[in-house]
């Protein structure tokens, strides 16, 4: 049951991301990407991380992509690009990237020996939050400071002169 669901969701994620890259209209690309975020959130849920699944939807699908959409609609960038199909030379960087990824996956797969995992039934919100704010507390503080710097920077740039 879980395995079937996982493969369906994985397929949706990959196909959604593929369409997001190849879509010519920016708005449609966003819709495809949001779809793949949904599938990814469900995969996190299947893995026993409901909190991460919720944050994936709230932050990525619900905040970041909405802001992208907002900017595209505000600046009226929603029209399809009039682009000719890429020349052969343009494909080379993508091909190199695919080769590198495929080679690393192959190497890892050869060295990998499947081991039975310890029983794991997911993590509760309480456990997750305690780990986040005690064990990883410093990292959380550092990240939030960084966000604060970004915020101050944005306010400085956007202030009225």
């Amino acid at each position: 049951m879980e395995a079937t669901l996982f493969y369906i969701l994985a397929l949706v994620t990959l196909v959604g991301t593929g369409f997001a890259i190849t879509a010519r209209q920016a708005v449609r690309a966003i819709v495809y990407l949001v779809n793949s975020f949904f599938a990814l959130a469900l995969i996190f849920y299947l893995l026993g991380a409901p909190l991460v699944a919720a944050f994936e939807v709230i932050i990525y699908a619900g905040a970041i992509m909405v802001l992208f959409l907002f900017v595209i609609m505000m600046l009226d960038l929603g029209h399809p690009e009039r682009m000719k199909s890429p020349r052969l030379v343009d494909w080379i960087p993508a091909l190199v990237l695919v080769l590198v990824t495929a080679a690393s996956v192959a190497v890892l797969a050869m060295e990998h020996h499947a081991q039975p995992l310890a029983a794991f039934s997911g993590i509760s919100v309480r456990q997750f939050s305690q780990a986040l704010f005690t064990r990883y507390g410093v990292a959380v503080e550092l990240v939030s400071l960084q966000l604060l710097f970004a915020l101050v920077g944005a306010i400085y740039l956007g202030r009225r002169r």
Partner: protein
């Protein structure tokens, strides 16, 4: 957990029953709104179809279904037809975590009156309300019309702004209940509903859900005086109907959540739990109608000012105060 045939049948039964309840409630909320508004404005309102106009929702559905379904020539056909569903589905999905009443004991098994009791129920609700933005944004964009686009840009920025204060006003509730689970939140209010401890959070939440529903005084995305009908100007027939019903389902969903978070959900003396729950939902839904009949629309800058400079800082202060109170108690 292994699922037996009884479990699956129960689950399907609950889902079907919930759909029936939501759709009936939404249909009659439309009628109630028209009648109550008429009463407030010293008119009569729809009273021709059936006794007291009670069959009016049915007549409206027939009208919607038989109307011509138009798609503008320059529209993005795929997104145009998907957008109404994107607006309505998150509202319906919200109900899957709402407990309608106390767990029942039937034939030796406990039956919860809720489809699933998610560990992250509050976040699930916030995620769905974050997603609900897409229906409005894409509906307006895909229509390829100036009014619709302006309406959906307004809608986007309004929903993003008020989601923030809505989420922040729920933090004290989670702090008091010590859980994201909606059944735990209701159980934590066994002695006293949270509105007593958190009146400010309740007010912030209430104002934010008015904005989230895009109702007067926050109905700028569809301000009919300036934008025709805003993001759904180009919609007709049942597609418009879905936007319309979705708005009312959303009102019911948010009223249900307000009653769960602050008014103790299904808890109450004398009457059976489910009656209490629907009573509270109806009181808040009535508030929506009352405000619509009373207040004028805000100006756009006033709307943004209220969201960012008043509600959000107040919600943050409220979290701080609640934290101090919990720590020093």
């Amino acid at each position: 957990m292994t699922w037996t045939a009884v479990d699956i049948a129960l689950m399907l039964g609950k889902i079907v029953a919930l759909y029936a309840i939501i759709l009936t409630f939404a249909a009659y909320l439309v009628l109630a709104e028209r009648r109550i508004l008429a009463w407030m404005q010293d008119r009569i309102g729809p009273n021709r179809v059936g006794p007291f106009g009670l069959m009016q929702p049915l007549a409206d559905v027939i009208k919607m279904l038989t109307k011509e379904d138009m798609i503008p020539k320059a529209a993005d056909r795929l997104l145009f037809s998907l957008a109404p569903a994107m607006a309505a589905i998150p509202a319906i999905l919200t109900f899957s975590v709402v407990p309608l009443g106390a767990p029942l004991h039937l034939f030796g098994r406990e039956v919860t009156l809720q489809i699933t009791d998610l560990d992250v129920g509050v976040l699930f609700f916030l995620a769905l309300s974050a997603i609900a933005v897409y229906g409005i944004a894409l509906g307006g964009w895909a229509s390829n019309s100036k009014y619709a686009l302006l309406g959906s840009i307004r809608g986007l920025s309004q929903l993003i702004s008020y989601e923030l204060s809505m989420g922040l006003s729920l933090v004290p509730v989670v702090m008091l209940a010590k859980s994201f689970r909606l059944s735990d939140i209701v159980n934590a209010q066994a002695d006293m509903p949270f509105i007593v401890y958190q009146p400010l959070a309740f007010v912030i939440f209430l104002v934010s859900i008015f904005a989230e529903c895009r109702r007067i005084p926050f109905d700028l995305p569809e301000a009919e005086g300036e934008l025709v009908a805003g993001f759904h100007s180009e919609y007709s027939g049942m597609r418009f109907g879905l936007f319309f019903v979705g708005e009312y389902i959303n009102i019911i969903a948010l009223s249900a959540l307000a009653s769960l978070f602050f008014l103790g959900g299904w808890r109450g003396p004398f009457l059976p739990p489910i009656i209490w729950f629907f009573l509270k939902v109806f009181v808040i839904a009535f508030l929506f109608i009352w405000v619509r009949g009373t207040l004028p629309r805000l100006r756009y800058d006033q709307l943004m000012h209220l969201g960012w400079k008043i509600l959000t800082p107040l919600a943050l202060l409220n979290i701080l105060a609640t934290g101090w109170w919990l720590a020093l108690r």
